[in-house]
Amino acid sequence: MPLAASSDPLNPTRSFQGLLLTLQRFWAERGCVILQPYDMEVGAGTFHPATTLRALGPKPWKAAYVQPSRRPKDGRYGENPNRLQHYYQFQVILKPSPPDLQQLYLDSLRAIGVDLALHDVRFVEDDWESPTLGAWGLGWECWCDGMEVSQFTYFQQVAGVECAPVAGELTYGLERLAMYVQGVENVYDLNFNGLEGEDRISYGDVFLQAEQEFSRHNFEHANTEVLFRHFSDAEAECKALLAAGEADAGSNDPSHKLALPAYDQCIKASHVFNLLDARGVISVTERQSYILRVRELAKACGAAWLKTAGGGAN
């Protein structure tokens, strides 16, 4: 049963897209730039350069965006009502972290229709760490009636570099929140566009086929030989770009010229690794060494970013 009755199809409790638009508007009103998803496959919204790279350096930054997250291992051929290999995260990054970030987060829940006099919202310890990004932070899983609906993190280190100042990161699990506010048990039953009858489009209408096909791909058909090659190529390309972007010795402009393209290759390597992992062709020991290889790229990209204008180099 919907939490709030409203005929507006863009009411956040009626449609998936309404939820998304509400969150965008909420954070836009609080000074964030609203970005669009990064046009590459990533495992989490954190990989977007608007978070990973912008979290580094002294410059203030406020951004919010939706990011599709690809988790090849979580594919369930469209048969599990809660698990998807492709889902949406809504990502907010505020640098430096404002003193009332918890309250802002709670206000945003209220904005999307969560009645805080009715629902039990809790901040439960969850130390976040991304071995591939060389990043960690402290924060919580945010629980609504026992369900994790968001991640809340104060970044302490990214790409092996101490954050100064610290950024606050909020990651909303959009499908889960939408299921919650729409009162739906199965993700594929979510109302996507908020219309009824013939005009109604469900989440399943949009994504069920994709979940089935990509599960097949991730677990059965992804060509591992090609993937191994892609990984090496991306790694080599990242390193080459990092080297090519370095300022020449003695140049009066010490800035790095190719930090962002190099980081794209790092993202690519990370996703290919996730696919290989889903195919079960990486042993435990190898796994560690792959993670290390991606981390080395991320660290080098972070170091390069700090030598750019965005990284506060001048």
């Binding site: 972290s97 629902h119 439960v124 100064a164 100042p165 435990v284």
Partner: protein, 741 residues
Amino acid sequence: MPDLLLELFSEEIPARMQRKAAEDLKKLVTDALVERGLTYEGAKAFATPRRLALTIAGLPVRGRDVREERKGPRVGAPDAAVQGFLKAAGLASLAEATIISDPKKGDSYVALIEKPGQETVAAIAEIVPAVIRAFPWPKSMRWGKASSESGSLRWVRPLHSILCTFGAETEDPEIVTFDVDGIKSGNVTYGHRFHAPGPITVKRFDDYVASLERAKVVLDADRRKEIIATDAKNLAFAAGLELVEDEGLLEEVAGLVEWPVVLLGDFEERFLEIPGEAIRATIRANQKCFVLRDPNSGELANRFIPVSNLIASDGGLAITAGNGRVVRARLSDAAYFWQTDRGALPDLDTLKDSAEKLGLDLAKPLDQRMAKLDRLGVVFHAKLGTQGERVQRIAALAKELAPIVGADPALAERAAKLAKADLPTEMVGEFPELQGLMGRKYAELQGENASVAAAIEEHYKPLGPSDRVPTDPVSVAVALADKLDTLVGFWAIDEKPTGSKDPYALRRAALGVIRLVVENGVRLSLLRLLGPLMEQAIAISNSEASQDALGEMLESSIPKAIDLLSFFHDRLKVMLRDQGARHDLVDAVLGEGASGNDDLLLITRRVAALSRFLETEDGKSLLAGYKRAANILKAEEKKDGEGAFAGKADLQLIADAGLIEEKALAVALAQATPKAEAAVAAEDYEGAMTALAELRPAVDAFFDKVTVNDPDPRLRANRLKLLNQLREATRAVADFSRIAG
């Protein structure tokens, strides 16, 4: 006398850190106060998810004045000494010093230093900021604008406000003012995040607790626990069920709420086909909810207990429904795992080699998982090979041990081959704490022998000094094989435990071996077993080495095996000590040649017999006689040289010139010694002790009447020989010199 109230109000503190943090706060602040001479009557610390609080009662208003006398140089000492004295004592000139006279040493300077006691408020204003800055959080963080600068304040999560008041009960307390990174201390706190978020002005501890309670915050974690436990039991009882008590979960949940509200939810009965342990694991780990059982059958019920932090406007219906939805989603996952794990794996063809190598039947699901574990090449330890290789070794060893522990070798081998097969299952991947247990369930489902299935679960046991020791011979064989393989492996690569570091839990493994052997009465010559195993492990860990190099390394196998054996001896001592037994008796029983004593069961039996013997009057008296004899011998051997009194006493000489007590001892020794030796050889330690006990009257009488150091050198030497014979006789049973007391 005034009281101190301190509250540090922050964003949510991890539940697992709260109790220790409260205690740390109390200790650090009170220690610092006491160090400044500010003693107090009582202190108590509290923690909720959002605050640490401390109350210290009965502090003085100011510290005592301190009078200190500092001795200086004698009058007329060199200038350097005088200057040093003035500087150290803080005096401007010698005019401020006093001169004291001593008849022996002459006149010297003394400085009388008077320090007025510090105002307690001032001391607190110094102490608290220092404690906050150096607080021992397991993990701490920086935040906000201030984090641009290095050295900014760290706290477990952002710290928002500090309340600090000091004053007597009869007056309005004052705010102890200080500033920590821009956070100014005050007299304001905040209530429950949703029910009473506004500021609350506080005077002292009494009204603080009462105001918080009105603002829906229960300050005391133990009271929150009590509320949760009581309400949960009542809800369970009302539903005709019983709470599955869980102290760890209770402690955690009490750290997640400031105002506990206990609810009751349910899930579909069909989920009860999932093993109860798995249901409990997922509801506990992921949802932090309690589970309930049927008090008659003991089976899990389809109910659960969430603890919320909110007095919801609908009485908690939405919260219960929401929790139920997540529980169902989790249980759907668990059901999926439970089903998947019992089905066939894809790509069975790729597992053929592994199956053949390990002798597995790919028609069976658990066999497939073991083959997959081998195929994946999951590394156990970089130097000790893969899990698959390890399982092969354990299987061979379990088979070898089987006849010794009375198990069927084929069953022991089979159980060992499946012991780790649940590691790649979905269920264990999700809930690692279910390893072993899930293996057992899956083994039962594929029709394994009951002992084999039990051994899969039990081979990890015993996990500690209080854990149950398996008794089924098949379990014993696999449990021993698993632990011995681990121990030998890490000994071979010199990764032994050091100090507090024991990352591979080798002490636990050794204790496990000891308890398995002792409690099951297993006779095992450890050294004979460890030698070849050590050679094998050294060869595995140096598989790249040349033939010659390897040959050299293998020479260390026996010393390493002996070293491992003495590790067992050490653990045995620790075990006996922890059981309240006398661990010095282990040394006495082991004697000099510890390496010869490699049968742990016999050692413990011998220790037990010796311990009982030493409790008796005969034992105590004989030990005293032994000590006396040994002391005399030691003194006399110093004069005459080591071994001067070896050999048997001259009986003819005793008959001619000796005393009757001397003769009696000689006769008693001649009878008791062979009896004791024979009994030890027959592993009859009680018998050996009885034989020794027979010596007691003769020994007592000897020391009573006979003077050892007779003026006649022949008589002296002969009597010392008798004492030496006594020493030798006891040695047959134990080295009495190693017995304390």
